[in-house]
């Protein structure tokens, strides 16, 4: 630090508050989970969904995509299912149905 850095010194945001907020949100999730921070039921949920849809439509193991986004107030669970062309009621284009489930965190 020298004479000129006083003039140059930018006004900084109180980043410590941001750090604390981020940690509190993250750790609330990590502690409620299995301790790893991952929702351990997601792979199993994906398998069950594939099995359920397969009763009606022939889909592959990779045709169901499960995603989770964790937020402060809300966490969202997004499930995308790729239906094969032949089964989509003879429609020319591939049908993609998205369903979104939201749960209060």
């Amino acid at each position: 630090m020298n004479l000129f850095s006083f003039a140059r010194k930018p006004r900084r945001a109180r980043t410590a508050d941001t750090a604390k907020d981020r940690l509190q949100i993250l750790l609330a999730h990590e502690r409620s989970g299995t301790g790893t921070g991952e929702a351990s039921y997601l792979p199993k949920l994906q398998k069950d969904i594939v099995a359920a849809i397969r009763k009606y439509v022939a889909i592959g193991d990779d045709d169901v995509e499960v995603r989770m986004e964790r937020g402060d107030q809300m966490s969202s669970l997004e499930i995308n299912i790729d239906l094969p062309q032949a089964e989509a009621g003879g429609k020319a284009e591939a049908a993609k149905s998205g369903s979104k489930a939201a749960a209060k965190a």
């Binding site: 020298n2 980043t15 410590a16 750090a19 940690l23 990590e30």
Partner: protein, 282 residues
Amino acid sequence: MTIELKEKPPLGRVVVITSGKGGVGKTTSAAAVSAGLAKQGHKTVVIDFDVGLRNLDMTMGCERRVVFDFINVIQGDARLKQALIRDKRLDTLSILPTSQTRDKDALTKEGVEKVLDELKQEFDYIVCDSPAGIEHGAQMAMYFADEAVVVTNPEVSSVRDSDRVLGLLSSQTKRAETEGAEPVKAQVLITRHDRTRVESGEMMTVEDVLEILAVPLLGVIPESQAILRASNIGTPVVLDGPSAAAKAYEDAVSRLTGTDVEMRIESERRPNLLHRLFGRAS
């Protein structure tokens, strides 16, 4: 009085110094805490659990006196007495170095327990310096602990990892697995605390960290040049002349032994105006 103290059976308390994240000051703290305990007259041994990456020996300044190590003792190649290195500055302090050549799998639960049980017959405090991470070596260092010192920097990744470690201490230790046993007494030691940066809102405050981790505070160690100087010369910081860091470690040690010491947040002397104007030349 002194004779009376000496004839008391040793306390045999196992204290793990752990953190999850690397580079936050575990070994520095293990050296300072064990030297501080020994300085107060408690018979203390400090064990390096970082198999393969031996460093406690350098921090303690006994790297040239290592003949046998912790792993040799576990594997029956040497007796415990042969592997313990008696500190040259304090006759109440001993060091049990680890192996540089073996891998961490050489640490077996049975082997570690046997060594700890033997040390409990002689020492008041057995300080276990954990490796970073949460794998086998770290698990072995914490498994038999009565108390834990979780070293944390006021920084997001360190706090997050400390939280993980606190979770492991309450689930993956002998005390956690033993029905009816008191849980491991965990306390947080905040290191590299920079008062100037806290005041300007750049660094989380002690209160912030404690609010997140929700465990008692053992002490706050200020960022200090004394730490590097002490490690350069292989001396625990509490044995290397007066500094704010040494004072903070000594207070933390007193609290560890159950003495009530007022919590002070120290910092090394701030540079004066002239230094700030013309730069720190030295």
